[in-house]
Amino acid sequence: MSKFIIQVNSAAYGCASSYSAYRFAKAAIENGHSIEKVFFYQDGVLNTNHLNSPASDEFDLKQAWIDLHQRHGVALVNCVSAALRRGVLSESDAKENQYSHWNMQPPFIMGGLGELVIGIETADRLVSF
């Protein structure tokens, strides 16, 4: 059994690779492996925008990530600098920058790139999408 860290580099919509990352994570867990964390980098941070609102008959990838966290305890970590550049802010980021709105909330959390590197070091394998 292996311990994986998943890196997601593409947006939730418009590119299949984030969905592939989700399918990989889910399948790995169902087959007895563990997912140490999912790290959102580059455009991947757009997966965590709480305002993603797909039509009711479309797959809701943001919600799928949240379900993965709730069912299996997978940490969902954004690269904070990549997120801020792309307009994805937590409540504390918004307050720090004097904005009255924010669009990222738990269970997604902000972290640094160090979280990715520590994850790479402690996991058996990094898989990037």
């Binding site: 580059q42 640094g112 790139l113 160090g114 990715l116 590197v117 790479i120 070091e121 990094l126």
Partner: protein
């Protein structure tokens, strides 16, 4: 400590791949990982001298390439085939790099723990 190999495949300023790849390279090295870089395809354009990224609204992140030795990133490989395709010479590059054949790059990748492509 793991051996991380970070590959740069895209031109430097049209997307954020290069910038975010270099950020990860430096951060990984500062977290005591053994980091090597490979420049291939249009990623080689990242290494060109006399660029002025700010004139196209991009951050001048390539100036940071000069700091690689300070981060103990000593292995910087470029793909010989890509150099030929793009008509580039060693003297076109702003930093010291090592030219490698496709076979040599393959064996370097086989020796890495993780490969991350930007």
């Amino acid at each position: 400590m793991k051996k991380l190999c970070i590959i740069f495949r895209q031109a430097p300023h049209g997307t954020a791949h290069g910038r975010e790849g270099l950020d990860l390279s430096l951060l990984s090295a500062s977290f005591e990982q053994e980091v090597s870089l490979i420049f291939t395809d249009e990623g080689l354009l990242t290494l060109l001298q006399d660029q002025d990224p700010e004139s196209v609204g991009a951050k001048d992140y390539i100036a940071t390439l000069g700091a690689l030795p300070l981060y103990d990133i000593e292995t910087v490989l470029v793909c010989q085939d890509s150099m030929l395709e793009l008509g580039l010479q060693q003297t076109d590059f702003r930093i010291d790099v090592e030219q490698r054949s496709a076979e040599e790059i393959s064996s370097h990748l086989a020796n890495a723990d993780e490969v991350i492509v930007f």
